[in-house]
Symmetry: C2
């Protein structure tokens, strides 16, 4: 592994696989519940993994929280997005006022939303409720050179790790990752292309709604960014620094930190999938703590799922980001966990078992 | 349409299409919200339809309720199920005590569960909480003759319709349909085969968990039932009576009644899909009020969705019944509705619109 800060090293060392004994124990209990074996499908699959992480004496999910990492992108100079950059800061303010899609869905799913400024091109001053972890006012244009310095990328990862540590102290049971950043499907596609060894025209989509011609331009910009920066696929932090973004790095840190703290983490669409790919290349064990919420319409998701060896829970045709897919899936992860702790067993309910022979 | 009771006729006459003007109005509002157009995918699609049904002045979903229709099946004599018939009554008792999967999920999703005995082969006496609408103690064996008389089928439909009327009086905003009945995937496959004109080997699955050999036997039993009874595909109530079941008929009535009362109704797996197919053949307009929650592993679902011209919201590999898929989707339908009433618009939030040109 190439050199990196001691803090990141220490966290990577703490990420251990989920115990296969606990997975077996959890599965055994699910199999004793009053339902045909395996008949709750993926809800059970997630429930088993949740219980193996939380411990088989698990009783109740008390707190769910989604971290919404925000950052701006120098590459918007290249006109890769349908919206102007100022929308990132405007949306951050809406998140804080409670009127965005993520706020509505998170309230509905009893999930807290924490908004983090990782690198928005705006001075929010002392606006209440915002977590200030700004590394810089937006990345540099990756078509012309590296988006961040390696130091900046590591700083942003450490910020995310520290938020996971804070979540542990606050006894948060399920974490979610969301993103906001005009232009951020471009760095996400770039990361997935480099680490998945798939050309950008296979990982690039229509983002918030560009047309075919703009899509061809976007692909060319991503190809240029990779050619100009030559990110090293053997060095995930190099890839993140050169063609990533501050909010993506924050999510990388949150995934690493939650895995080290053994908190299940639900990721959202293509931006957090790109972050998960980086985290998983840094330590494959994160896959045990990671839950992929949904398949968005961005084509990079597919390559990402293959690398992460995961199947998304949902396919609702969503492509909004903000953690909107994550909060829906977090609620279903909690549902799977409740099946474990609240359902009657065949034995205690006196129900006849399946016919034998 | 063949002759049927006046009550059913009157309800069928009341089912009108959802107003295209209201659908347009609802969509217009969704398009003004602070998100890229259509970026909430199916959540929006369902939200638009919900608001068009509930009215564009819609504010809040107050009550969600799933009706769990239970009944037994004479065809279990033919050993088509992995579980003994007594499990139907045992599970009804667990539903009433709150320990089944549907209870756990419904509590999690703030949804009331109402258990209805449509025809369980057990005397529940005055057990608290159960709605008694028993037509008979189980259907007759459809392999030997009609499962029900036409009169019984109509009685069961009327029972479901009356529950929808009661739901309207109780101001329930979203209804769900669930089922319990050992052996009930067999009549469901039979119904879908007859009305979808697809052979039983294409609509029959492994139910609660039979093996390949038992599956072949189950297909043969369903083929026999269709051959012996010759249900008339032009007469949906004839099909229901000859190869259906009491709980299926109850769900048919609930779907008709909720559509007539303009209450959105979310259906579950293959059993309620079979019921929806009958309802839809009686009056196609029910499709406007119907929301298909999930694709279960039963192959009959696919044919059912084609007839209903719907795409299921979820595919979680679930095959439990009880309304477990429905309650999850009901919660997402409510989420879509809340997006409409709680989210900020571009105008009132002062967010920049998409770049033009």
């Amino acid at each position: 592994m190439p050199p990196m800060s001691k803090k990141i090293h220490a966290v990577l060392d703490k990420i251990v696989p989920v115990s296969s004994g606990k997975l077996k124990q959890a599965k055994k209990h699910f199999d004793s519940l009053t339902k045909p074996l395996g008949s709750l499908g993926r809800l059970e699959e997630w429930g088993i993994r949740y219980v193996a992480i939380a411990g088989t004496s698990f009783q109740k999910v008390e707190k769910k929280c989604v971290y919404l990492f925000s950052g701006d992108h120098g590459v918007v100079e290249e006109k890769v997005s349908a919206y102007p950059q100022e929308v990132t800061a405007q949306m951050v303010k809406i998140f804080l006022s409670g009127g965005a899609a993520i706020n509505v869905l998170a309230r509905h799913m009893q999930t807290e939303v924490v908004v983090v400024d990782m690198g928005v091109n705006h001075d929010f001053k002392n606006i209440p409720g915002l977590i200030h972890r700004k590394i810089a006012r937006g990345t540099d244009n990756m078509r012309r050179g590296p988006a961040m310095t390696r130091h900046q990328a590591e700083q942003a990862i450490v910020a995310g790790m520290e938020l996971a540590d804070a979540a542990k102290k606050q006894k948060i049971d399920i974490l979610g990752a969301g993103d906001m950043g005009i232009g951020n499907t471009s760095p996400s596609s770039a990361i997935i292309s480099v680490l998945g060894e798939v050309p950008p025209n296979k990982t690039t989509g229509f983002g918030t709604g560009i047309d075919k011609k703009s899509w061809e331009h976007k692909v060319a910009v991503i190809e240029d960014a990779i050619r100009v920066n030559q990110p090293d696929p053997q060095d995930p932090i190099d890839v993140l620094a050169k063609v990533g973004g501050f909010e993506i790095a924050g999510i990388v840190g949150l995934i690493l930190g939650s895995s080290a703290n053994q908190i299940p983490i639900v990721i959202d669409g293509v931006i957090s999938i790109a972050a998960a790919v980086i985290a998983s290349k840094l330590n494959k064990n994160v896959q045990d703590y990671l839950f992929t919420s949904h398949k968005s319409s961005e084509p990079g998701c597919e390559t990402g799922f293959q690398i992460l060896q995961q199947k998304p829970l949902l396919d609702l045709g969503m492509r909004l980001g903000e953690g909107t897919g994550a909060v829906i899936a977090m609620n279903l992860l909690e549902a799977g966990a409740k099946i474990y702790s609240e359902m009657a067993t065949f034995e205690n309910a006196g129900v006849s078992q399946k016919n034998r022979g």
